[in-house]
Amino acid sequence: MGRKLKARCVVRGVARGIVLASPHPISFWGGVDPKTGRVIDPHHDLFGQSVSSRVLAFPFGKGSSTGSLIMLELVRANKAPAAIVNVRTEPILATGPVVSKHFYEKEIPIVTLDEESFTLLETGKPATVNATEGYIILED
């Protein structure tokens, strides 16, 4: 069954996917290619990997306020992450998924975890994020 972690809901929704986790913040503008969903920041540890359909875990967002636009484009192009897991979510990062919900009627759930639980997310393992009810299940 796996391990259930209590999470705080930032943007509602439920999604399942393979975890892609990084201990480093991500800037979507200049950091992720909106056409392919690949991480294009050569200094980032996820460089070259695709965020598409993943449960994308990173501690917090950084960088330009255009990040929200890149996220909305990822949704439009069907390249968006399945869900996002943060330690803290700032307004710019949450804007893309919130607009996506109202404009494209597509959900990207976002939850936050405490720092200790956050480190339990392992790249390559499947996970279910239930933001609406406030938990994550890490599958074995």
């Binding site: 943007v11 255009t66 990040g67 929200s68 909305l72 307004p91 949450a94 804007t95």
Partner: protein
Amino acid sequence: MYLTDEEKRILDGDKGEAARLALSILVDLGKLYGAETLMPVSQVHIDATLYMVDAGLQFAEKMASLGAKAAVPTSLNPSAIDLIRWKELRVPPEELIKHQRLASAYLTMQATPTWTCAPYQQGIVPRFGEQIAWGESNAIAFANSVIGARTNRYADLMDICAAIIGKVPKFGLHLKRNRKAKLLIELKGFTTPMFENEALYPLLGCVVGEIASDQVAAVSGIPSAVTFDNLKGFLAGAASSGAVALCHLVGITPEAQDVEMCFQGDRPKRVLQITPKMVADHEQRLQSAKDDNIDWITVGCPHYSPAEFTQLLRLVEGKRVHQSVAFWVFTSRTVYAWIKENSILKQLTDAGISVFTDGCPLQYPRKSWNFSAAMTDSAKFANYCYSQTGLPVIFGSLEDCVESAVTGKIQRRKSPWAGN
């Protein structure tokens, strides 16, 4: 979240679909950040003006087609291109249409076509204490830190919603308690020749941005004689190397005339120092060219002011840009009209310099130019250059930029902080 009867009616669709959509997004974001109510803003600066992806165009066109209008005075950040001199900028005609469609959507919403990332230097300028909703990182940092207006770092798309409704959730830097500094950064070992060198300020901003990240910092030690444009370069640097929205400059920021005011009566708990060596180290990181060849000099990030044009002309007088070099300046249409009237424009053009309006140097049509390296007096441009254009970059003073343009080889004079 408490909503007024009028706001509830908007959510029910009484004022049309555009207002319903815009307010639904603002309310969702407000709940997320624990805002208890919405609050009016007196003006908006929209950042989502630069055509980059189709989703942004779809959103703006949908709002415009639904009849959305800016509810408060609204200025616009740059387009990606010069909407007037696009041929000279070699924008492929087939790409032009999407830039024009995006511009047209905002004009349909009755926003003011300022097309500038320095909206604090002309146009709809706020006053001290004014509650505003601005996008564009350098403009946000400038509005909060130099003017003392109050804005959060508004994301693209949220800025459009704020313009349509004329309100934002009441949270973050709109509230005095959140404007209290978390750390004090002191300048240590800086000399008068360093402060008199204008290249110091963008670099110093970068160092502050890296230290402050997304926290409100107070910086003490910047001389009060610092110019408006020095502060522009400083904050553009800070907001590009960190998520800086407000940086109290002691003695300069209206609400931060002394250290005690920055900390709202408390003592700073964290005190850090910046030394000339840290500035020199950052400067070194902004020198990524492999050899001394240079074919593209670009300044005006953020858009150049009249004072910056005057300084450029003084440095260029009697000289000519080397035939192998493109020297570009980006500015607003307003400043362009002024320098055309006082003939600074003609003298710069005669010296081989191209002046563009509306656009962003980071978004130039790459395939039309084939540049091999960029040189700039902007730390913001230098920070983003590689990820946005793939080109190596050299940061230098404006004087270095002009000397390099004239000779076609990178010329760097030793900075007063180098070797410290």
